[in-house]
Amino acid sequence: MKKLLATALFSFAAACGDDSGLTDDISDDTDQSTDESTDNDDQTEIDAPPGVTVVEVAGGDISTDTRWTANNEYHLKGYVFVTAGTLTIEPGTVIKGDNGSALAITKEAKLNAVGTATAPIVFTSNKADPNPGDWGGVVMLGKGPINVTGGVNNVEGFATEFGDRIQYGGGASPAPAHDCGKLKYARIEYAGFLLSPDNELNGLTLGGCGTATDIDYVQVHLGQDDGVEVFGGTVNLKHIVISQADDDSLDWDRGWTGKAQFVVIQQKVGRGDKGIEADNSNNDNDLTPRSAPEIWNLSMIGSDGSAADAQGGLHLRRGTAGKISNAIVAYFPKFAVDVDGASSVGQFGSSLTVKNTYFVKAAAASAIWPTGFDVGSSGTENDGGFNEATQIGGDATNKLDIDVRLTAPKSTTAPNWMPMAGSPVLSGCGTPPAGLDTTATFCGAMGADDWTAGWTAFPE
């Protein structure tokens, strides 16, 4: 009955004359779309190695304790939410994501993904010729404190219909020690998805994760958006490599108060945006808890490209606080540091500091970066004339334009961020506080130990 009517109607519509030629193409395809698999069939997938079984993981919920083992290869076919229990992933396990897939650990669940330096866990694309953005990435959500009014928020990158699954934050009574689980010796490759401007999936998204969470020895490589984005919480990061992200490498927002130590950021030539984009809150710059992480032993390597690359180093804005020390900020053509907005400027000096840092200019120094600092002369900086060159560049603990002598920091295929013999960064920097590795009195992510050896990889 309905079919008949529809037929009659379509012929009427045709009589009314739609001659765009587009209608038929799209609407006919739309007709089929709801009946067919939406995976684009002829995309090449890699065959699993001999002896490895492919296990397809359909989009949906995992709500009991589950173990993924290294003798299988797990193919994510959609958004997989762990809604309860623990998802354990054995060392050496490979997880491949299809277009439109992601792995999300909700705030009621935990991840236990602990690889080893010789058998890391690899999250990667399911394509033979992989590209950034082939799949969504890893999302870990928790009940830690965030500064969003009401204490909960929906994580970005997902449409809203997932309800509680995409919620993070502990509400009125947050748990600063919340445990989102463990992610150690793991690589996340070709992830990220741009749903719309400022609404994207990152390689690793941490929303409201607490101090009991263990994120250590994690590489995010060739992500389509940010490498690691931290939304609130108290989670600590250690031994992080973010290589060649399309957007920012490390992004924090909504009241992150954790610590990070030994972080390498390598920007992508011609694409990456900022090394670190640091926010408190876009709506009310002074919401609390205020973003105030401590970052020690950080190496940020820009592309050393032309000014048109527009890469910035540290963009500290929207009320963020934070302490950055023992860092190298090198080769960012647009600016090394920009303290943006009256609220962040107000934090500067006491709660927002950049100390013991080597600032190295881009080789192709240009008119817009004569000094390496964004001094805000254009009047659009919203920072009331805050002068980064004197406030930060002029700080006695910081060193400007001294050759830091890293081994191969800009190589995209075989990078090496170890300081060469005689490098000035090997000593004379600050002493990290208790709770961190207090022996790391060098500047940059590495001293004498190349902790990236073995488990990282840099495919193109």
């Binding site: 529809a6 109607l9 379509f10 009427f12 519509a13 009314c16 765009s20 030629g21 587009l22 209608t23 193409d25 799209i26 609407s27 395809d29 739309t30 007709d31 779309s33 067919e36 939406t38 069939d41 090449t44 989009g59 959609g78 277009n99 439109g100 010729d129 082939d134 009014t149 009401g150 204490g151 928020n153 970005e156 449409a159 809203t160 219909e161 997932f162 309800g163 998805f193 741009l194 749903l195 719309s196 401007p197 400022d198 609404n199 957007d247 011609g270 709506n283 009310d284 710059n285 002074d286 919401l287 032309s306 048109a308 527009a310 963009h315 009320g319 009256a342 002369s377 659009t380 919203n382």
Partner: protein, 972 residues
């Protein structure tokens, strides 16, 4: 509907008779379709009303006085040779008790062997018949009166006056009721008022006659003249301050689908005013209306066919101070509007190179490059001098007696081209140190060219006095070409940006309806009406192109490589529906029973694909080039690759099937007291499944939901006097979630830089409505009314924020309510002093207060308890007219609406309100010759800015400019 047939109780009859009060006796040419006399002394005893009558210049078609030009011939049976000499009979049919003209009386002329002519008296009881010379008998019949017959002799070129005072039938058995059967030209304002007075519900209307007094060119302009109507964004109707979901639009009784994917409402600018007979706003519910009823229902009825031949050609042109003659943005190079009528000429179609079976992603690099190079490569807006707006309308109508049956038609065609320019300042705020601070400032420059074509054809046949059939076909197409450019500081980017968009949208509406009216038994008032319809609306967005750059302090550009930049977007929405209904009424004693059933099945398909150029090169310098250079064949491949970013949310199929049945009774409890009580049962099934075969990500939903509802309602009407009613009404109605609100479709609002997505879990809102109203119709053209109303919303659907980024979605709020009052007056200053009787005024003032409680879990929102989204606290319309046919007809119109929420604030940021803008329009019309009318208008005389504010920070404002229009109507 196109013809208006009445069937009312005795009490009502008295009211309508009262409505028949004659027009001012010396009124010159009456409107077309009005057969009132022009040569004779006034009808029996017209209570001299304030001369509020229509000016000559007003009617859609003006007829010259017979003395000067031979008026068209009312049907003469055998084809009368054009040259045949004719005589005229004119006169008035009068009710001796009410001392008023009797409308709708049937006047038949017999030559002794057969009936040779038939007509009906107009609202004031007057009639005109033209006949060849000869001797005839004129028979006048109308219910409740003794049939009268008079012999007459008609001579050539003579006008004969035949006034008839009818003798009432003796009152007989109890339960005697009256039925008025007639065809009234509902385009007249007085007819509209008579209809309102008699209506069972609280309603307001604006007639074609009133519309033509305004500078209005389409329905959205015209409907502003109705009480408590707010027109949002120039084309969407809000009633009593309620918008979107709460306002339904009916076209000749059929619910119209919205052709907008991201709006709930039907854009009224689809309907040119000359297609409109009346626009009626129902503010209280009655079971024959669809159960989807919140703020009210806007019923559009299309023009009827005229009783005499009429033809009208209208030409108009207008200019706007901020647009015409100025530089406006244009993308003329690819513009679909380049095709003069607003149809795409194929230049914006999805290129053939784009595969139809799979997404453009992970394909062979060579093929990807070829697809990337197949896209239209025009990105840079150009400046062009804006032309004046032009419009042409042609209307032809006639009716004749063919084979003893009256057959009529009306056909109209119109086209309009208009241009607008908007220069807006848009800002963005944040709290900094607790202070609301503007952190962003963008300058927008938007140029729009629009071409509309429309046509309506209506054919009606009166099979006999009791059976009528009518076929209506309507088609409207609007092509809108928008080019915009914005630059300024973007806080999110931490630098200046420059963004441009080229967008071309075609919207169309096709509607075909066959309906019939059958009076099966006049004695018992048994009448059957039916209709069947098919309707289609569509919206095609063809190749919207967005491009964004970061601008360095030295002015250098860098291509922003992110969604919404370097993007091509296609989207097609098609909505098809069909249905039918029957409606029967019968009298049983003092009870008028009415029952009916209707079904309307609709299906909708939305499909879209989005593509963008990703930067894949390592030569940063190319990112500083223009769009045309960046995406040239040379650079696609090495530096840029086109990639599909379609989401599952970009396509859905949906259906809404509604089956309804109703029964209601109109009980005459006493001479003065009527109760209309009834209920409607409605079953609705709504489905929606989304998913695109081209999707590279996204999620899918499959919704199948049904509602079963019994919707009781009661309307009580008490006639304080024959001219005064008190009404009380209660009803229980529905507001279903629209597809747009359910669909997970993600829509990026680039002006506000946020996403909007639907919520598949929404449930239907239920509404308790209560109205109390006093109204006084002192004369035919006057009304004074005051009312109060209250609405209680259960599970109201409101826009809320999905996350702290400010992305919006929809939610069933805990509760909501709205109460308010409104007053209305239409009168003439002749009430104060007879010398001022040429000055008429009308005013509508509504004051409302609404609250919605969004629930404690909506912590993100700054206000969990606030006014309903988009609801204005007050609406004021005033019009003042000077009507002197010898000089001119001048009208001054004033409109203002109170502050309403346009954006919901989060995390302490205030809600954004659109501030009141006082708008004054001036219209003057004058007859240059008997067949030529000139209309001049000035719109938005005060030239105020439209302002959106968060507290006292302006975050969007623009100057709409003053428009000057000139129109000529030729009625040969």
């Amino acid at each position: 509907m196109y013809r208006f047939t009445r069937s009312r109780s005795l009490t009502l009859f008295a009211l309508i008779v009262a409505a028949g009060t004659a027009y001012a006796d010396d009124v010159p040419p009456p409107p077309a379709g009005d057969t009132s006399p022009t040569t004779t002394e006034p009808a029996a005893e017209p209570t001299p009303p304030p001369a509020e009558e229509v000016p000559p210049a007003e009617a859609p078609t003006d007829q010259a006085p017979p003395a000067e030009a031979p008026p068209p011939v009312d049907p003469v049976p055998p084809p009368a040779p054009v040259a045949e000499p004719m005589g005229t009979i004119t006169g008035t049919v009068t009710d001796p008790i009410a001392e008023l003209g009797l409308p709708g009386a049937t006047i038949q002329v017999s030559n002794g062997t057969k009936i040779v002519a038939t007509t009906q008296s107009d609202l004031d009881g007057t009639y005109t018949i033209k006949l060849p010379p000869g001797t005839y008998t004129v028979i006048i019949a109308t219910p409740e009166f003794v049939e009268a017959s008079r012999p007459v002799t008609v001579t050539v070129d003579q006008s004969l006056t035949l006034d008839v005072t009818m003798e009432p039938l003796p009152k007989t058995a109890t339960g005697e009721t009256i039925e008025i059967v007639g065809t009234i030209d509902t385009r007249r304002e007085s007819a509209v008022l008579a209809e309102r007075r008699a209506a069972a519900t609280v309603s307001d209307a604006v007639s074609a006659q009133e519309i033509s007094r305004t500078p209005d060119s389409n329905a959205s302009d015209a409907v502003k003249r109705v009480v408590a109507v707010t027109v949002v964004e120039g084309k969407y109707v809000a009633l009593r301050g309620l918008e979107g979901r709460y306002v339904t639009s009916l076209l000749n009784g059929v619910l119209l689908p919205s052709p907008e994917p991201d709006r709930n409402a039907v854009p009224l600018d689809l309907f040119p005013t000359n297609l409109l007979a009346t626009m009626t706003v129902y503010k209280s519910y009655s079971p024959e209306l669809p159960g989807q009823f919140g703020g009210g229902t806007l019923a559009i009825s299309t023009t009827s066919f005229p009783t005499e031949f009429e033809m009208r050609v209208g030409l108009s042109t207008s200019a706007n101070t901020v647009a015409t003659g100025q530089d406006g943005l244009s993308n003329a190079a690819t513009s679909g509007v380049r095709n003069f009528l607003g149809f795409d000429n194929g230049s914006r179609a999805l290129p053939d190179a784009v595969p139809r079976t799979r997404a453009v992603r992970n394909m062979d690099a060579g093929q990807m490059e070829q697809i990337g190079e197949s896209m239209p490569n025009i990105w840079t807006p150009t400046d062009e001098t804006v032309s004046p707006n032009v419009g042409v309308t042609v209307a032809v109508g006639d009716s004749a007696i063919i084979g003893g049956k009256r057959v009529g038609y009306l056909a109209t065609g119109m086209m309009r081209r208009s241009f607008s320019v908007r220069e807006a300042q848009a800002g963005k705020t944040a709290l900094v140190g607790g202070e609301l601070t503007q952190i962003e400032d963008l300058n927008f420059n938007v140029g729009t060219a629009e071409a509309t074509v429309g046509g309506l054809a209506n054919v009606g046949i009166d099979l006999d006095a009791d059976n009528q059939l009518n076929l209506l076909g309507l088609y409207t197409h609007v092509g809108e070409d928008t080019t915009s450019f914005a630059d300024g500081y973007s806080e999110a980017d931490g630098s200046d940006i420059a963004v441009s968009r080229m967008m071309f949208v075609e919207r169309q509406l096709g509607f075909l309806q066959l309906n019939g009216t059958h009076k099966l038994n006049r004695e018992r008032g048994l009448e059957l009406r039916w209709q069947g319809n098919v309707a289609t609306t569509s919206r095609d967005e063809l190749d919207s192109r967005d491009l964004a750059y970061i601008v360095s302090p030295t002015g250098g550009l860098q291509y922003k490589d992110q969604p919404g930049s370097g993007q091509h977007f296609w989207q097609v929405l098609e909505d098809l529906s069909g249905g039918g209904g029957v409606d029967a009424r019968v009298r049983a004693g003092k009870v008028q029973l009415r029952a009916g059933a209707a079904a309307q099945l609709s299906s909708r398909a939305l499909g879209g694909r989005r593509f963008r150029y990703r930067y894949v090169g390592d030569n940063g310098a190319v990112r500083g080039l223009s769009g045309e250079e960046m995406f040239s064949a040379e650079n696609i491949g090495p530096n840029f690759m086109l990639e599909e970013g379609t989401l599952h949310e970009d396509a859905y199929e949906a259906s809404l099937d509604v089956y309804g049945a109703f029964a209601m009774g109109e009980v005459e409890i006493s001479e003065r007291f009527r109760a209309i009580v009834g209920a409607r049962y409605e079953y609705a099934n709504q489905t929606l499944a989304n998913g695109s075969r081209y999707a590279v990500a996204g999620t899918r939903a499959d919704i199948d939901r049904s509602d079963n509802d019994v919707l009781p309602s009661a309307n009580l009407v008490y006639a304080l006097t024959p001219e005064q009613n008190v009404r009380a009404a209660y009803s229980y109605t529905l507001a279903r979630p629209r597809f747009r609100e359910l669909a997970p479709f993600l829509f990026f609002d680039y002006l506000r830089r946020r996403d909007i997505s639907g919520n598949p879990d929404l449930i239907t809102t239920r509404i308790h409505n209560a109205d109390l109203r006093w109204e006084w119709f002192p004369t035919e053209d006057e009304v004074f009314a005051a009312s109060v109303f209250y609405k209680q919303f259960v599970d109201p659907i409101e826009q809320v924020m999905a996350n702290a980024n400010g992305d919006a979605t929809f939610l069933n709020a805990d509760s909501g309510n709205l109460f308010g009052g409104e007053i209305e007056a239409r009168s003439s200053l002749g009430r104060l002093d007879p010398r001022l009787s040429d000055i008429r005024f009308g005013t509508n003032i509504a004051v409302m207060r609404s609250r919605v409680n969004l629930g404690d879990d909506q912590m993100l929102l700054t206000n969990q308890n606030r006014a309903l989204y988009g609801q204005s606290p007050f609406v004021v319309n005033v019009n003042v007219g000077y009507v002197n046919p010898k000089i001119a007809d001048v009208n001054l119109l004033y409109n203002v609406i109170g502050s309403r929420i346009t954006d919901v604030g989060i995390e302490g940021l205030p809600d954004t309100y659109e501030r009141p803008m006082h708008r004054v329009d001036l219209v003057a019309a004058r007859l240059l010759r008997k067949d030529l009318r000139l209309k001049l208008s000035v719109a938005n005389l005060l030239n105020q800015r439209v302002r959106l504010e968060q507290d006292d920070v302006t975050i969007n404002s623009y100057q709409p400019g003053v428009s000057f229009a000139l129109g000529l109507d030729w009625t040969p």
